[in-house]
Assembly symmetry: C2
Homo-oligomer: 638 residues x 2
């Protein structure tokens, strides 16, 4: 018969041990009393790295950033009460951006619930519809059934968190005093003894979960191939969180179809040529043929481009893209055939335009389509009766298709060239230029975390495809300005290469607490704060025309000098006075250990005017390319 402390040790110990067997390697823990068994067992568990945090909100986003960059579940532990409530923003973001988190909250036992006991709240289904699975765990028991249950729950939690659509799960642990488990190794009964676990090798999971990907039946793939092949002018749209393993297959499919890939900055496709993405080049195409379009956010601002580039089919992967011009383009052509591929069997179609919803693993689907070579080419031949759409590449097989892609490529190239010209001609601080500069500066292997609101939108316009492997991450599940610092620091804790975060001053202020992790855990990160002293995005919205309450309600200038706060957390702070200084500061920071914050000071109104100026100049300069595209296209009657 075990005493209560042994029982708690055995039960919680079996659970945590099983999490590790299921592949969980990191746990973020916030201090608390009720959570003592969870915390102490985690700390004693070999194979589990503990990251302490005091602010649970920051802890949640730190775990999110870590899980996002690793693509594997990270555990979170906190005590009872509002501690658990502080996880909600990160849980919500994880749910919508499909990041695996395993949230473990300590709770009072039943006899202390809803009877006015201290630090007690209703934690049952606390995160509502924003977790994939909730379990109100039983009180610790050390019977063999209940130890099997503990291990089963851990296996299942890890498996569910990582199975598409990946996301957060929540297990709530009622715990009774005494809360301090006995020190030392896991009690025998809780161990994975071979006698009890027939056929399981040491360290093997109690239940190993093999999760297959969704795969369309062959007939459905053929049907889809026929539909794609029949379309002369298709567009592939890759939004945020397009699965990394799909990048290469998508590019290859695009190349085969002769369609452009409109690649969101968070799609992972703007820095393709890692493994599979190179295949196009291997097959003899030049980099100029690269079907990835990265400047659509700019040239689709021109109504003529939108009207000229009439798609027959739109094929979407990932979440809905960031770009408003692209949204308007897709809305303009919402009656065209739209196919949405979702490995998570959810419904990412805010325009309500999907004619075909395909629940399948994107990489597997693209490969299956590519294997249907002949079918595609046969369809392609039929398509060749169309006159070529004005564009540079019209020769060779699939001319019509190539010329459609060529029109996009020409527009893209011309836009990018003019953007670069415009940006480089501006010597004054311009927010978009931050991304232009970073594209040249970031070393191979960098993780670039991008804040919401203006930074991600500027990145969309000003950060082109680059030849180096740079991973771009952002929190677009719910696009909050909260928790961004912690997310980036979580990523920094999990990877070896440089991590650079770009965000605005409101977002930086919102998660200033997150900087503590850089100090406590000695993380290496470079943070670029674009400080326009308030909410810059509102200058682009209709409320800017209502001066009466604008600054108060929307501008919200904080008037903060962040230097002292950064230094309080042991960081170095530099204000980049010009672009030379910026390049120098970033160049230094990415190779220097520790926390560096580089501030770029801009003015909101001027920034809005410069955006207008740059876009106008670029779009005017595009006239001839656009005219060629327009002349070669058919404008349907609406």
């Amino acid at each position: 018969m075990m005493n209560p402390q042994q029982t708690i040790h055995a039960f919680v110990g079996a659970f945590i041990d099983e999490l590790v067997r299921a592949g969980v390697r990191h746990v973020c823990i916030c201090p608390g009393s009720r959570s003592t068994p969870l915390a102490m067992v985690c700390a004693a568990q070999p194979g589990l790295r503990v990251w302490m945090h005091v602010d649970e909100r920051s802890a949640g986003f730190f775990a999110l950033g870590m899980a996002r960059v690793l693509g594997e579940p990270v555990a979170l532990v906190c005590t009872s009460g509002t501690a658990a409530a502080n996880f909600l923003p990160a849980v919500v973001e994880a749910y919508y951006s499909r990041v695996p988190l395993i949230v473990l909250t300590a709770d009072r036992p039943h006899e202390l619930r809803d009877v006015g006991a201290n630090q007690t709240m209703d934690q049952v289904r606390l995160y509502g519809t924003h977790v994939k699975w909730f379990v109100d765990m039983p009180l610790p028991e050390a019977t063999s059934t209940m130890l099997r249950y503990a291990r089963t729950c851990a296996s299942r939690a890890a498996a569910l968190a990582r199975t598409a659509p990946a996301g957060p799960v929540h297990l709530n642990f009622p715990l009774r005093e005494p809360l301090v488990p006995l020190p030392g190794p896991l009690p025998d009964a809780a161990q994975a003894a071979p006698s009890a676990w027939t056929g399981r090798a040491d360290g093997e999971p109690y239940t190993a979960v093999a999760a297959g990907e969704r795969t369309l039946p062959g007939e459905a793939v053929k049907e889809l191939a026929a539909e794609l092949g029949a379309a002369r002018r298709g567009v592939i749209v890759c939004g945020p969180d397009t699965p990394a393993d799909a990048a290469g297959p998508i590019v290859n499919l695009a190349w085969r179809l002769g369609w452009p890939v409109l690649a969101d900055p968070l799609s992972g496709l703007r820095a393709v040529p890692a493994s599979e993405g190179g295949r196009a080049a291997d097959e003899g195409h030049t980099l100029l043929d690269h079907p990835v379009i990265d400047a659509y956010d700019v040239f689709l601002r021109d109504r003529r481009a939108v009207e000229a580039l009439v798609p027959e089919v739109i094929l979407r992967f990932g979440a809905f893209p960031v770009s408003k011009p692209l949204l308007l383009y897709l809305e303009r052509w919402a009656e065209k055939r739209q196919i949405v591929v979702d490995p998570g069997a959810q419904w990412r179609d805010p325009l309500l335009a999907a004619g075909r919803m395909v629940y399948a693993d994107p990489a597997g689907l693209c490969r299956a389509l590519l294997e249907l070579d002949l079918d595609l080419h046969r369809e392609l031949d039929i398509a060749l009766d169309r006159p070529a759409l004005g564009g540079p590449e019209t020769s060779g097989a699939g001319g019509a298709r190539r010329s459609w892609l060529g029109a996009w490529q020409a527009l893209n190239r011309a836009t990018r060239e003019r953007l670069v010209e415009q940006v480089e001609a501006l010597s004054e601080p311009f927010e978009g230029r931050v991304f232009h500069e970073l594209a040249a500066l970031l070393p191979a292997g960098t993780v670039l975390y991008v804040g919401n609101s203006m930074p991600i939108r500027d990145m969309d316009a000003f950060f082109p495809c680059i030849g180096r492997p740079v991973r771009v991450l952002g929190n677009r599940g719910t696009s909050g300005i909260d928790g961004v610092v912690s997310s980036a620091l979580g990523a920094a804790a999990a990877v070896d290469g440089p991590v650079v975060l770009v965000l605005g001053d409101l977002s930086f202020y919102h998660d200033l607490n997150g900087l503590l992790a850089a100090k406590l855990h000695r993380l290496n990160v470079t943070i670029v704060v674009i400080n326009n002293d308030g909410g810059g995005i509102f200058s682009f919205l209709p409320q800017a025309a209502h001066p009466e309450h604008f600054e108060t309600l929307f501008g919200t200038p904080l008037g903060l000098d962040f230097r002292p706060a950064v230094e309080m957390y042991g960081g170095r702070f530099a204000r980049a006075s010009d672009w030379d200084a910026f390049r120098h500061a970033v160049g230094q920071a990415v190779v220097t250990p520790g926390l560096d914050v580089i501030e770029v000071v801009t003015q909101r109104e001027r920034n809005w005017a410069l955006h207008r100026q740059v876009y106008d100049a670029v779009l005017q300069g595009l006239g001839s390319v656009l005219d060629a595209a327009v002349s070669g296209s058919e404008v349907p009657r609406s």
Copy 2:
């Protein structure tokens, strides 16, 4: 026919106008795009003061502190997405500590929900069981029915938020673009025109809600009076959030019964003599007779005191008290008759000991009991056959009762005297002394906000009853260390007198963002940070005996010098090197406008040892008083 902008203006305008008619005077707004109609209408509404915040978590607690100190509903506005999730900690605290909040979240319209639209999450019942009422509002319509509906919802929200048990309500507003309402006055249709609203004067609510308090029927009051009157040795326990208007009646009832009032530091009874509390003195009793016991947290640490002070009846008001020794005392005597009075018809009985649950307004109930003069005295006469319990006051009517109270008073007085001696003999930094000093320092009219974990516990022991009106507030709904800075600043925004906040370094760090409000809104507040570089409370818990992971998991030293952060927010920072310096700094700060942060640096282990030392010395010195109490009491067999 109105256009969409007029419609949105009319509908949202009618709702906000009605909130103001229902008595809402303050709104905390966080910037956002989807919430533009709510924000712009609030800003244009006469009679509504707008408080802008960028961090929604801080905004939530700011509103909470404001609503707590005012005892009236405060509105909160944010945009869609994780912004709303950041309100959860404050909503939870408001729910459990019964503070009226009206949470207004902007949401996407139905066609953009759960289809992958940007910045969209499931906001329906987002706060789960932690709000009293949730409404997923309709899209704005300006028909007369829907304008009546908007006004009805506003009336009802304000009424529900403030009706016992007060608490948060949540209204979720789906809003479609265009989001900018037309400027100018409310459209005519949305106005409260006399023609449409027969009998309603200008500015009168559309529906004026008159909410009665719960009142026991006369028979039930008599029955309760008989039970109370029959008990010779009763104890009244007033926990946090005892209704302010009940303080006087409770003290008078205690006096009449000859029972002690064990007054939690957050009960409002330690600084009684405002209005009704003075009645005991008016009736010829001296302050020494005052039945309020303020040192129970110390003398109930002595097992002999617990065994000697055998209650027959325990009468509880408010939430469950902070003190662990008091909890153990109540647990020791859990089989005795326990009566819990709850105006909110909930269940505040964590010991599961209530024999009688009384759902009635505490002030009204006490007054009704006091009106039954003769009955009480008749019961009292019967009770006089008991020998007097050793204590100073044994003469006069109700001797037995008076001597029971006398024993408590004697113990209390002796404890307090010895505590003062011990504390004043310590020249080194001792956390408990902060409250000893503040009790002497705080001017009449001060609001003292106290942080959770150690500060509120030290206050319990070291802050005695004082003769000046000082309001003591704390977040004991769920006792989180989060949001405390913002709560105090919210209180500071709502009152004229000095506001002093005492909290620990982890709690200060957790809500550093809250300081921005002091800067933006030029608030006057004095913050005393007890900086022991980590979680001091854990040194008092069993995990302190497990050194292996203690500092990492529980001590969590941050190593932060807060000065730069305080200065960044425009505050003055002082580190009090000794108690003279502390007194000087606090004395200056409370009369100086702006933000002052005064740090008291202590050491966690030493602080634990000093607590032990002080308590041991006090309890030893109490021997003779305790012996007298023990000799006069009956120790029941268990």
